[in-house]
């Protein structure tokens, strides 16, 4: 999950900006730290060589320099931020080879559902994508907020109930990556890690075909079971019965997840906790 080992163009650009910004700032920060330690040491009271200048309290030139140094740094970084924000807008297209793959991600308590509307399949806690193709994500949440994040592919984005966020990514190399939720969502939050399998574009249709053979069906009813609070340790796959399921979720035609069942009059919820472990 190393941010400095990017596996896609978005992550490459993000981490380049990250590293560049650090170096730009270090050119100012390192000399300043050296000066702080140097001045503090040289002007110690016990140093007879240091000249005591109690009246050195103002210097227009120094003022000018000390306002200018951070200001210039920030102008430079501000430019990086402006250009970077536009180029790396999560919604900006990330052109790739072949046709883009549409993936609709839903954060549930406490698992991830990935719907492939065009392929008519869905998976839980496991995201499979062809290398090199643009991945168009539409994201929403069944209940509370989460953040969808695959560190080595770059930009994260919030998932929120009743709303759709968009994110475009691309994975360039085949292999196994990991994704997670980057926003605390309750007791099962640490279990919201998911596998990311980047496979060759040639193998992708085969994977779709084999996945579609499953006898589990995802429709409104089975989705409602899925959105109860529990942790899914397996990697179930589904045949998607209704390709508009994501819209039903994001427009709240299917109401938000129910949350825990209250079992004690003191308001200590118990359901969910044990499943989470």
């Amino acid at each position: 999950m190393n941010l400095l080992d990017p596996q896609g163009p978005v992550a490459v650009a993000n981490s380049t900006i990250l590293v560049d910004s650090v170096f730009i700032m270090l050119t100012i920060v390192v000399p300043t730290i050296v000066a702080i330690l140097g001045f503090a040491w040289w002007f110690r009271a016990s140093n007879p060589m240091a000249q005591y200048q109690p009246d050195f309290v103002y210097s227009g030139r120094i003022e000018m320099v000390v306002w200018a140094i951070p200001a210039l740094t920030i102008i430079l970084l501000g430019g990086v931020a402006w250009i970077g924000s536009h180029q790396l807008d999560p919604r900006a297209p990330v052109p790739g080879t072949g046709s883009p793959v549409r993936i609709q991600a839903v954060s549930l308590d406490w698992k991830w559902l990935f719907i492939y509307p065009d392929q008519r399949i869905a998976t839980v806690n496991s995201l499979t994508a062809p290398a090199g193709a643009e991945l168009n994500f539409q994201l929403t949440s069944s209940s509370v907020m989460n953040v969808f994040f695959i560190p080595q592919l770059g930009s994260m984005i919030y998932t929120m109930n009743g709303m759709v966020t968009r994110l475009n990514l691309r994975a360039d190399n085949e292999g196994k990556l990991q994704g997670l939720s980057a926003h605390f969502s309750g007791d099962g939050f640490p279990e919201m890690m998911f596998d990311v399998n980047v496979i060759s574009p040639l193998a992708f249709p085969d994977w779709v075909a084999s996945t579609a053979k499953t006898d589990q069906v995802l429709n409104e009813d089975s989705y409602k079971k899925l959105m109860q609070q529990f942790v899914e340790r397996g990697r179930p796959t589904y045949r998607l019965e209704d390709p508009t399921l994501f819209n039903l979720i994001s427009t709240q035609h299917i109401p938000p997840g129910p949350g825990p069942q209250v079992t004690s009059s003191a308001g200590r919820p118990h359901s969910g906790d044990h499943d989470a472990r």
């Binding site: 941010l3 240091a50 050195f56 140094i69 970084l77 501000g78 984005i157 099962g188 939050f189 919820p269």
Partner: protein, 666 residues
């Protein structure tokens, strides 16, 4: 009869909070018993609990903060241990407990440690620096303190009765809504912040008014010590920002109690509104905390370098610039919520702009040291340690203000390391510097230097050993608030962070030892001059501890560094021997209003949390009655006769003269 409250509220199945709560309870009862048996109760009541003296209220604020620091620190230790061992296992804390701990840690450290610590120091010092006898609203000041204490009490009560919030320190909906958090935890969180928030707001109003309206002769704005300026800026932010917090939490409470839909998933509620509102308060909040720390460092660096603050006007400008800009950057807390590139870029750049005045401050401290004669007493060590630490925190802060970088770092352990880098390196170092710097002023004796320096070094090294690993874990994709994890690469870093935490714990033990040792050696450490550090501002012009009226007569200020100038003047003139003409002094009477108010606020808050409606009514009536009784008071001041003033002041002056002439003889 008791609303939702029944025996199941006592977490008998969770030994850790129960034992912790039990130990605290026994300790409190023990202290109370000791106080009663020794017959200190009347003294405590008359001299402290009902006191409206800004110095005593300041001391009580700092005491509250120190006690809560131990609580918040224990939470931190538990979290570090959990993450160090919870690799491919559940560790020793189940999620429902771990989640309470990180929520409580954040809530306590910000609201009940950092806030009372800086407000306490401002209370103690600002009237002295301004050369006046009290704050603008002394009784209100006491009310503010006791309401803050109420909030702290409620948070601790949740250890043994019910549970605390499990939603993080900002209780984001919809997780914090009734559907997803049906327990009383969020109610404990929200009501304790509502009550202490009122306390903070009145403290802010009080200090703003004090700085704006009550200053001694000649103390014009541009002659005020830097700490007064940062106090002004910080309290302006309190007055502007805390009502937002109150309103936001009120909306959340309406959702939870009366079925409103401000932030719910259903019926048109929108959690994004909460995000915006809470950070419109939350971002200024961090400057509310760090600006007073900047003020403390300005005083410390200038005093221990034996020089006036370099570029004073520039510093004033930088302070006020931070004060204003800090209100315009809140969106950087959620770049990843799907805002457009223009919005993200503008808020990113606005956030970076704050780094400019902050950088200027660093350079001005640097040039204050230049040409100085630096004495490395404990406060100065904290100051230099702060400058080095804070620059790194600033670097990582500007980094996460760059939206594309934040897309990778948002909510990560890197972010956790960043804000601890600025809050510990800035606010906490500042609080400790201020504590050691002004302790002799408050109590009349200095703190032990050996233990103070040990505390500094353990904190400084412990801080880096703890948080460099968190930076690293963040770069490895680790996100915050994980009760356990299965990623092998994170594990060694969590281990090192736990080692760092051990060093930080030793630092806290050093701090406690420092105070204990100093109290035992207080005669040797006594400060008889009132000016132990060769200070420059007016708090050093009076005795340590100052008499209740601070100054027998108002000092006349003729420039910056008022007391330094007075001292130079006195040296040239061979000391002023002319006895001033003492006059009667009117001082505000002590009042139990604050304590009684807070008692009823505690009752009301507790009753609201547990839906005990008759008790809510009773509590509100009690608080209102307290207010009526106070409003209809006849006498709120008493007179200290000129003769008494003269006696106290002569004794102080005599002691000071003796010391000065002795020093002269040598």
């Amino acid at each position: 009869m008791l609303g939702k409250l029944d025996w199941s509220a006592i977490p008998l199945e969770q030994p850790i909070p129960l034992i912790a709560g039990g130990v605290v309870l026994v300790a409190i009862l023990g202290v109370l018993l000791w106080v009663v048996v020794k017959g200190y109760l009347p003294y405590l009541w008359a001299e402290w609990i009902t006191s409206v003296d800004h110095k005593r209220i300041g001391v009580m604020y700092v005491l509250l903060a120190s006690v809560m620091f131990l609580r918040g620190g224990s939470d931190a230790i538990m979290m570090r241990i959990q993450q160090a061992i919870a690799y491919q296992s559940q560790g020793y804390l189940p999620p429902e407990h771990y989640n309470q701990i990180f929520s409580a840690h954040g809530t306590i450290m910000i609201f009940f440690v950092a806030m009372p610590f800086v407000i306490g120091l401002m209370n103690l010092v600002v009237p002295l620096q301004l050369g006046v006898r009290d704050v603008a609203f002394p009784t209100l000041n006491s009310v503010g303190f006791w309401l803050t204490a109420t909030g702290a009490l409620l948070v601790n009560l949740s250890l043994v009765i019910g549970e605390f919030s499990r939603t993080g320190w900002l209780a984001f909906p919809p997780l914090s809504e009734l559907t997803y958090s049906p327990g009383v935890g969020v109610d404990y969180y929200a009501w304790s912040l509502q009550i202490s928030g009122v306390g903070t707001l009145v403290a802010g109003i009080n200090l703003v008014t004090t700085v704006l309206k009550i200053r001694t002769k000649g103390m014009s704005y541009l002659r005020m010590p830097m700490f007064c300026w940062t106090t002004l800026a910080s309290n302006l932010l309190i007055v502007a920002a805390f009502p937002i917090l109150t309103a936001t939490l009120a909306m959340l409470l309406l959702d939870r109690y009366l079925g409103f839909h401000f932030f719910t998933n259903e019926a048109g509620g929108n959690l994004m509104m909460f995000m915006n509102l809470i950070w419109a308060w939350g971002h200024p909040e961090v400057y509310i905390l760090v600006l007073p720390a900047f003020g403390i460092f300005s005083e410390v660096v200038s005093t221990f370098s034996g020089k006036p603050l370099f570029g004073y006007r520039s510093m004033v400008l930088a302070t006020m610039a931070i004060c204003v800009i800090s209100f315009m950057v809140w969106l950087h807390h959620f770049f990843t919520m799907g805002a457009g590139p223009d919005v993200n870029a503008i808020f990113g750049i606005a956030s970076m702009i704050i780094a400019v005045p902050t950088g200027v401050k660093i350079y001005n401290w640097l040039f204050t040291m230049y040409g100085g004669r630096i004495r490395f007493a404990t406060p100065m060590l904290w100051a230099v340690g702060f400058m080095v630490t804070f620059i790194i925190g600033g670097l990582t802060g500007v980094l996460v203000a760059v939206p594309p970088a934040d897309f990778m770092l948002h909510n990560s352990m890197f972010l956790v390391a960043h804000f601890h880098n600025v809050i510990i390196g800035g606010v906490l170092f500042g609080a400790f510097a201020g504590f050691t710097y002004w302790f002799p002023k408050a109590f009349g004796f200095r703190l032990d230097e050996t233990w103070g320096k040990a505390a500094f070094w353990f904190t400084f090294i412990g801080f880096w050993v703890t948080f460099i690993p968190l930076y690293a874990a963040g770069m490895l994709g680790m996100t915050r608030r994980m009760q356990h994890y299965d990623v092998a690469a994170w594990r060694p870093w969590m281990f090192w962070a736990a080692i760092g935490m051990a060093l930080l714990s030793i630092a806290v033990i050093c701090q406690i030892t420092q105070v204990v040792v100093s109290i035992r050696n207080r005669d040797a450490l006594r400060d008889r001059t009132g000016d132990p550090w060769d200070g420059r501002s007016l708090e050093w012009a009076t005795s340590s501890p100052p008499p209740v009226f601070n100054f027998a007569f108002y000092p006349d200020v003729r420039g910056e560094d008022a007391y330094w100038a007075l001292k130079q003047h006195a040296k040239e003139q061979q000391l002023e021997h002319a006895e001033p003409e003492y006059q009667d002094i009117e001082m505000p009477r002590n009042s139990p209003t604050g304590f009684v108010c807070a008692f009823f606020a505690t009752v009301t808050g507790f009753a609201l949390i547990w839906h005990i409606w008759w008790m809510v009514i009773l509590g509100c009536l009690g608080a209102f009655a307290t207010f009526v009784v106070f409003a209809w008071r006849d006498h709120d001041e008493y007179v200290i006769p000129a003769a008494d003033v003269a006696a106290i002041d002569r004794a102080n002056l005599e002691e000071r003269r003796n010391l000065v002439s002795m020093a002269g003889a040598v």
